[in-house]
Symmetry: C2
């Protein structure tokens, strides 16, 4: 038992943080939920929402706790991105950061809680410099989002329950920062069989009202872990 103890006893314990990249979509742009820190360290600067792992808490649970604290939402899409552990990434003390990214319906969160945390939705194109290595985390998360959305039907997580094909197209155009052909996009999306016509139409339109669809949850679950092979047209 002494031998066992030695291996463990002589090893370093580290602070373990959890940081969350929170994506939203307002109909035009992809946005991030960032906080202007009113606490140390780096008070006054922008950062991701985060916290430390608790003694008796799984990592995923920690991410969900932190997301709930800020947005009042649970049951949202959360995925482990990766872990950042450069020796000097946190100037106060060496800290490993386990990073998750979340996709939420931007209109569904708790406004009050967001205000209390001094948080704001900021367009991807206007993201300020962030503390520590949070910039790189955001970069990597965007790559992952693009990667994932090309292959899995993940985009729906950013939209309300009922949505139109033009809305979905705008979402993909925002994710990939490129224009897509309406007609080809529609064909591709409908060919997945994931969309169910609700019979309703989008009333908030000054011109032709688009059909409101909802996800076929069943097919969604079954297709989610399979490759999807959707990709924006190459040029």
């Amino acid at each position: 038992m002494t031998h066992l103890m030695n291996r463990y006893l002589h090893s370093t314990r580290l602070l373990v943080a959890i940081d969350c990249i929170i994506f939203g979509f307002d109909g035009e742009e992809i946005k991030l939920l960032l906080i202007k820190r009113n606490f140390e360290p780096e008070k006054g600067k922008w950062s991701l929402m985060g916290g430390f792992v608790k003694e008796e808490e799984d990592l995923e649970a920690g991410a969900e706790r932190i997301l709930y604290e800020l947005t009042g939402l649970d049951n949202i899409y959360v995925e482990h991105l990766q872990t950042y552990g450069k020796v000097n990434r946190d100037p106060v003390e060496r800290t490993i950061s386990v990073v998750f990214f979340a996709l939420i319906n931007i209109h569904a969160h708790d406004q009050e809680s967001v205000r209390a945390h001094n948080a704001q939705w900021i367009s991807l194109k206007n993201v300020p410099q962030l503390i520590f290595d949070h910039d790189r985390m955001v970069e990597n998360a965007l790559e992952r989002l693009r990667y994932k959305a090309a292959l899995h039907p993940i985009g729906f997580e950013l939209l309300p329950e009922k949505f139109t094909i033009p809305q979905l197209q705008k979402l993909y155009e925002a994710i990939y920062d490129m224009r897509l052909d309406r007609r080809n996009f529609s064909r591709k999306i409908l060919s997945t069989g994931l969309l169910i016509d609700t019979g309703e139409k989008n009333e908030n339109s000054a011109t032709k009202k688009a059909i409101l669809y909802r996800l076929d949850k069943q097919k969604y679950e079954s297709k989610f872990n399979a490759f999807w092979y959707f990709m924006p047209e190459s040029s």
Copy 2:
């Protein structure tokens, strides 16, 4: 400063381990380099190669150290898989495990070092039960390998510098555990423009000698982070 100290001081420090999933290919099967532990805890059982993060060591550096210790190789393909942090995953003490996976040329490693660590190459199909949550790590790594190899020209990392198209095909057949059509495979691979005909032929053949190709490093680098869209035929 007291405020700052409180946030940090009252948080838990955790043991941080690094575990490595090491893939190899022997020409027929995908294999894992596993160790039969001659140390506690779980002495006598099989596990991944791992270790603890050192005080002044980046995570990636730690993975490379551990890989070098076992195989004598550096400059190999290593990618962060994900981090496992369930509260009770290690019965001795709560430990977070940052997991990497590596792809190596199975004939290039240091035999002596592998023997000294009581390690063995074990076919994916015969992997014994592993300690802790290492089974799930292996499962996830295989998923990642399949995912990645379908989209990026990653398979070459498992082959010697010069290789034939039939060898490459056998590799993909092993990764996806399915048979592929020779003629379609050849067409797809050659169409990527990544292969350069060395002019040499594989002399270890009792029949028609296959052309030896090597990677076009330049194109390889440029295509690596782009989607590749190679996938085995569906059925």
